[in-house]
């Protein structure tokens, strides 16, 4: 068994040796996923995103770059992350066998670092000396501050002031790592406003600054690039599933904020028609209350932050304030590739309320001794519903995108406990 794993761990992380999809070729060269995606940015940002796209295409085909990335993923991030058979939970639910992709075990505690390691290497290759990022839950901010510290790059993280409060622990982590955290006071003071402010910084400092976007949003090439860096999740999961069970899974489940952990898991399975893909959005207080963050389930197409996608917007096109107990899902847009997968029915999108997410949180904690992030808890909560409807020899892979340490304050507060 050990030998087999060693063999796998070497194979798994070779980005170059794994052709991800045969038939599926999205996006086109200008970043379109059908009507979605694209490059909707102010003129000052066109030259840098074009330069980024060129660099990205070049280094993706550069064996030296890939080797460095592979080494970082293995020795710094700690990949491959396990695919863990949650036997007790599966038995308790009495349906499908549940496997957890353990992104919570990555360095810094979430999938976010897969992407920041990749983008930081690109930044270095492009000669940029300053890194900026937006963050909601603070996981992407921490993952960015981490790689910036390691490479000795200046780092500024934009974070809505509401999120600064509810994710205070991560703010402190970023500061320890040497990043400057800027609390954004405009608009709804959450993730979308942090993104606006990061874009404003980038327009002002384009010459020396690399903007590490934390999810599959933004203008092309970000949605494709972030997907490709996160696709390590699905590539590993596929091989691990084959190695452990001898077959492909029947369903994939992942939470969707911007959609990076979900697309990272889904992408390598897109051509495998038998594998269902289910993205779980945040229904907040409930879709019917309007207080939610579920653009795919209850929004409409529009343009925000550089791409066309499903959005939460009113009839006048103004962006509606979102709500979710989890800061990382509290975003009115979603990656354009998810919009495309929804319209083409290749993936299915559902929504889970705050209360249901808490049930998912407790279920995993109590049944398996794993405390999930509130974002990931949405995927767990949907698994609670899905697994019992499936057969005992069916297989679900759930993306455990991050660990719950950062959410201890929110949870304690919610349950009326003083820490």
């Amino acid at each position: 068994m050990l030998l087999k794993w060693q063999h796998l761990s070497q194979q798994l992380i070779k980005l170059t040796e794994f052709k991800m999809t045969e038939n599926y070729t999205m996006p086109d060269e200008r970043g379109h996923f059908g009507p979605y995606g694209g490059m909707f940015v102010a003129e000052t940002l066109m030259p840098p995103i074009q330069a980024l796209n060129e660099a990205y295409q070049r280094y993706l085909a550069d064996p030296e770059f890939i080797a460095e990335l592979d080494a970082d993923l293995q020795h710094y991030v700690g990949r491959p992350s396990p695919l863990y058979h949650a036997q007790r939970w599966s038995k308790e639910l009495g349906g499908a066998q549940i496997y957890l992709k353990r992104e919570d075990l990555n360095h810094t505690g979430a999938h976010k670092i897969n992407n920041t390691v990749g983008q930081a290497l690109l930044a270095k290759r492009m000669g940029k000396t300053r890194i900026i990022a937006e963050t909601g839950a603070g996981q992407h901010g921490v993952a960015t501050a981490t790689v910036a510290a390691r490479l000795g790059l200046e780092c500024v993280v934009y974070m809505g002031s509401v999120d600064v409060q509810r994710q205070a622990l991560n703010v402190y982590r970023m500061k320890l790592l040497g990043a400057k955290v800027v609390a954004v006071e405009s608009g709804s003071k959450t993730l979308k406003d942090a993104l606006n402010e990061a874009l404003r910084d980038w327009v002002t400092n384009v010459d020396n600054t690399f903007y590490i976007i934390g999810t599959v949003a933004g203008p092309h090439p970000y949605p494709a690039m972030v997907r490709d860096f996160q696709a390590i999740i699905g590539r590993e999961a596929k091989q691990q599933c084959l190695a452990q069970t001898g077959r492909l899974p029947d369903a994939l489940v992942a939470c969707v904020g911007g959609g990076s952990n979900a697309i990272g898991l889904f992408y390598p399975f897109i051509d495998d028609a038998s594998v269902k893909m289910i993205g779980v959005e945040a229904a907040g207080d409930g879709i019917e209350t309007g207080r939610h963050s579920a653009p795919l389930c209850a929004g409409r197409p529009g343009v925000l932050h550089g791409n066309r996608t499903y959005l939460m917007a009113d009839d006048d096109g103004e962006i509606i304030e979102t709500h979710s107990i989890s800061a990382g899902l509290d975003y009115p847009g979603v990656g354009p590739e998810h919009a495309w997968l929804k319209d083409t029915h290749r993936a299915q999108y559902v929504a889970i309320t705050d209360d249901e997410a808490l049930q998912g949180f407790h279920a995993l904690t109590q049944m398996e001794g794993i405390i999930p992030a509130l974002e990931s808890s949405h995927a767990m909560a949907y698994t609670l519903k899905l697994a019992p409807t499936m057969k005992k020899d069916d297989i679900i892979i759930v993306n455990l995108s991050g660990r719950g340490d950062k959410d201890m304050h929110t949870m304690a507060q919610r349950e009326g406990i003083q820490l």
Partner: protein
Amino acid sequence: MSRLAAKFAQLAQAKRKALIPFVTVGDPHPEFTLPLLHAMVEAGADILELGVPFSDPMADGPVIQRASERALAHKMSLRKVLAIASEFRKTDTQTPLVLMGYLNPIEMMGYETFANAAQQAGIDGVLTVDLPPEEAENCVVLLKERGIDQIFLLAPNSSDERIQKMGRVGSGYLYYVSLKGVTGAGHLNTDDVATKLAQIRNNTSLPVGVGFGVKDAQTAKTVSQIADGVVVGSALIAQIEDNLHDLATAKLKIVELLSSMRHAMDS
């Protein structure tokens, strides 16, 4: 010839440069804007840029962001901006009107509905900050069919190739953003602007307006010596913000600032 092209031709004949004020429509409340537009024309404005407020103005600095927030607090919208433009057209059939804003309100309305509504409201140009020529094909055609110019931004880092593209796809005029940054930021470096304008003129024959960093009569004059048009926005909106409790004074200050710019540009 579009009203914008005619205006620039007429100004060129008179050897004058266009003074182009920008205000956010509905700031600080919907009734304030219409009389202000007429007053700005009287003070010497040649073309008016009407800012359409948006919840997420990514390319704007704090001054215009707050103007958007004040207008949105009164439920200002693209539809209502067009209604105010229609009102303006009832008594002023000459001054070109340019809508400036972000794409999502247009997306929600639908491109064709928007193009029709803009035509009916007497709009002459549309400048959408987050719509580069690569994504604009559909919109440009619909507007052109209705005699409306699509105006594009140029930046300090725009290449020859991009300038040519804007010149081909755009019409009316091009808007050169004189610095890398958001609206209302920093100081304008005249030498840099002059160098860039030379490059722009080598690549397109469209008139060029310059904005970002025009604050007073002196900067307006300097810019007018090298550009075809001078765009001033944040400096005007700052007058509103400084006089929120005395809007008559706000209007007076805006008129004074524009008059001083007009005077400096013409002398």
